[in-house]
């Protein structure tokens, strides 16, 4: 998994609510058999980024000037709702996004972020809107900084906005830890649980 420590980057505002993972990446790109995983970045937000004829949609924020190089996404409520497709996280990362700041996230999407090193930051909508407004004046100059160790976002105007990640998620992100590896290290506990549970609920273990 990719480590995340600090980041200073261009932030792009996509302040609509309920951006679902179907919008982030079409299922056809994941299950259709024609698209390789490394190519997913090109298809991130496909229906917003391209017109039906395949040309870029100039109205879409990530097609505009410096926002093309954005590594932070400023988003609305319930970002990443819908399907469990982890390809949504892969597509965002392959497009260059390292952090999404939103008032709330779809639960499965947020877990998928942690599995890959994409930082999901929960922040009050008003704070995000204030940052978006600042950024909008000059995306290149008004970059946003994130410090995961300190759990702080520094807005373009220097304002420090704290956020909080659960301790185990933060440590894993900082160190780029693999969750599967740490669970494999708990084999004794898993075996003990199953031994107890086999007595309590035998019907679960002998399907």
């Amino acid at each position: 998994m990719d480590k995340f420590t600090t980041l200073r980057a261009i932030a792009a505002p996509l302040m609509r609510d309920n951006v679902d993972t179907d919008i982030v990446i079409r299922i056809e790109r994941l299950m259709g058999g024609d698209t390789r995983r490394e190519e997913l970045g090109r298809y991130c937000f496909e229906s917003l980024r391209y017109l039906p004829d395949g040309a870029e949609n100039p109205d879409f924020v990530l097609n505009q000037g410096p926002y093309r190089r954005a590594q932070i996404l400023l988003a609305g409520d319930n970002f990443g709702c819908g399907s469990s497709r982890e390809g949504a996280v892969w597509a965002l990362m392959l497009m260059g996004i390292r952090c999404v700041i939103a008032p709330s996230f779809g639960d499965i999407f947020r877990n998928n972020c942690y599995q890959n090193g994409l930082l999901p930051v929960v922040m009050d909508r008003a704070e995000i809107e204030a940052i978006a407004a600042d950024v909008g004046n000059s995306p290149e100059q008004n970059q946003v900084s994130i410090d995961l160790q300190a759990q702080e976002v520094v807005a373009p105007d220097g304002k420090r906005v704290p956020f909080r990640l659960p301790a185990m998620r933060r440590e894993a992100m900082l160190a780029g830890l693999d969750e599967i590896g740490s669970t494999l290290g708990r084999e004794a506990e898993i075996a003990a649980f199953q031994a107890r549970d086999r007595k309590a609920r035998p019907w679960i273990h002998q399907a």
């Binding site: 609509r16 179907d22 319930n78 709702c81 639960d107 499965i108 877990n111 708990r186 506990e189 399907a207």
Partner: protein, 463 residues
């Protein structure tokens, strides 16, 4: 203080407390579909073994064709199937293959095989795993790295959600079904209304639902923003499960039922959020926009974005109207449709097909409409054919197809063409969900059948 149904099940599955509300949980049933084939590859590549292959069950549903006789299976689907067959066999995982009599949409297969048991913790690499909550299980969708985690360890790291209860009150009018109840709820509290919660559905109207209705209800929990939603088990649950292939038998059955009876929430249990929703006066529901919360009753008008308070919301509603090619203020009824899809893990079970057939019987699908019936599983298909539902549908001009996800997600070449309008019994009306530019209206099977035979969005009760 008493415990909620959810608390009891969560607590019984904690292998290790990881602090901060996180726990390593034991997974009782891991369900896989064809989209999980890469996870099996990853296990192989990473040199991991499958810890408890006897607790994982697989079938194929997402990428396969639903064409009669499966005659036009894509090369990609064929190779996925070959791979899935080989890897499940090599790992000792039970696989319900096409033509075996047990294949189907994974969320239809679990309950019908008796794999989805009350009190069980069930996961699958699919967000609609919440469906199994209708069996009194705690079930939720996971990502593909988490699938590998479960295969390797039979456990999963999760953060405990807060318990929420939705009480459906009042007695619904005749003809109102689970799909109407849940769409109405989503319309009222929004698609973010359940974010961070584990939702228990309760109240008389929920108790009155048969198990298949409860599966439909729980299926749309994720559309409420909740990863999981469930109905505590009762006598109906046990009657439904008894004698299913993988349900416990004999003394084990009695022991299990005794345990299951202890699961419902205690009378003094406290929920972090409670919502009451009166369904006494609701009419059949149908979505108009590009989010499941964009829903109206069949006798209502398409909402006017101008009425929305904040400008961002107004813009979002206007964009939805534009995508859907609809005009604000017009009645939803009478909107012309091109496609009808009856299927998906929401509404493809026998009772759903009966409901649709009752509407279709003696009518003809409108000449400008293509209407598909995609049964949820090989068992549903067999049972429906045994009672002649296929004949009713075919005589009415519907296409009777093979089980799978089909046009619910359009990952298998089965899409609604750009700009065309579909009434679908599935669960997502997202932009492009049924194909790029496709316009989807979600509704119950009866409403979908009515749209097929009238050629427009219609109130099936008036047919």
């Amino acid at each position: 203080m008493g415990k909620t149904f959810f608390d009891k099940i969560w607590d019984a599955h904690v292998v290790a407390d990881l602090g901060d509300g996180f726990a390593l949980l034991h997974i009782d049933r891991h369900l896989m579909h064809d989209g999980g084939a890469p996870a099996l590859l990853a296990i192989k590549e990473q040199g991991l073994s499958v810890r408890n292959p006897e607790l994982t069950f697989a079938t194929a549903d997402h990428v396969i064709t639903s064409a009669p006789g499966r005659l036009d299976m894509s090369r990609h689907a064929q190779s996925t199937l070959r791979h899935l067959r080989a890897e499940t066999k090599a790992r000792g995982i039970r696989y319900f293959d096409l033509g075996s009599g047990g294949q189907g949409i994974i969320h239809v297969v679990g309950p019908e095989q008796g794999l989805s048991l009350p009190g069980a913790l069930i996961v699958c690499g699919d967000s609609h795993t919440c469906t199994h909550g209708g069996m009194g299980a705690v079930a939720f969708g996971i990502g593909s790295t988490e699938v590998v985690h479960v295969l390797a360890t039979q456990c999963l790291v999760q953060q405990r959600p807060k318990p929420m209860r939705v009480n459906f009150t009042g007695k619904a009018r005749p003809g109102i079904v689970a799909k109407d109840m849940i769409l109405h709820l989503i319309g009222r509290i929004g698609t973010a209304g359940g974010v961070g919660y584990a939702v228990e559905y309760a109240g008389e109207a929920v108790r009155a639902l048969e198990i298949e209705g409860r599966l439909t209800l729980c299926n749309l929990s994720i559309e409420l923003g909740a990863k999981m939603g469930f109905v505590a088990p009762d006598e109906k649950t046990y009657a439904f499960l008894k004698d299913r292939p993988f349900a416990p038998k004999g003394a084990l059955w009695d022991q299990a039922v005794a345990h299951w009876r202890s699961l419902p929430s205690d009378a003094d249990a406290v929920f972090a959020r409670e919502v009451s929703i009166d369904i006494a006066d609701i009419s059949p529901q149908i979505t108009w926009g590009t989010s499941p919360e964009h829903v109206v009753a069949i006798d209502e008008r398409i909402p006017d974005p101008a009425a929305a308070g904040d400008p961002a919301k107004r813009r979002a509603l206007a964009a939805a109207l534009d995508y859907m090619g609809l005009e604000a203020g017009k009645p939803i009824q009478g909107t012309k449709v091109d496609w009808v899809f009856i299927g998906s893990c929401t509404n493809s079970r026998l009772s759903d097909l009966r409901m649709a057939a009752a509407v279709a019987r003696g009518h003809k699908v409108a000449s400008h409409v293509r209407a598909w019936i995609v049964p949820g599983s090989e068992i549903v298909k067999r049972d429906a054919e045994a009672e002649g539902l296929d004949v009713i549908f075919k005589e009415a001009g519907f296409e009777w197809r093979e089980p799978g996800c089909s046009m619910c997600l359009a990952a298998n070449g089965e899409t609604v063409p750009r700009g065309q309008r579909s009434v679908s019994t599935s669960n997502r009306n997202f932009v492009g969900r049924q194909g790029p530019g496709a316009r989807t209206h979600l509704a119950s099977p009866a409403m979908a059948a009515a749209a097929a035979v009238t050629g427009a969005i219609a109130d099936y009760r008036k047919l």
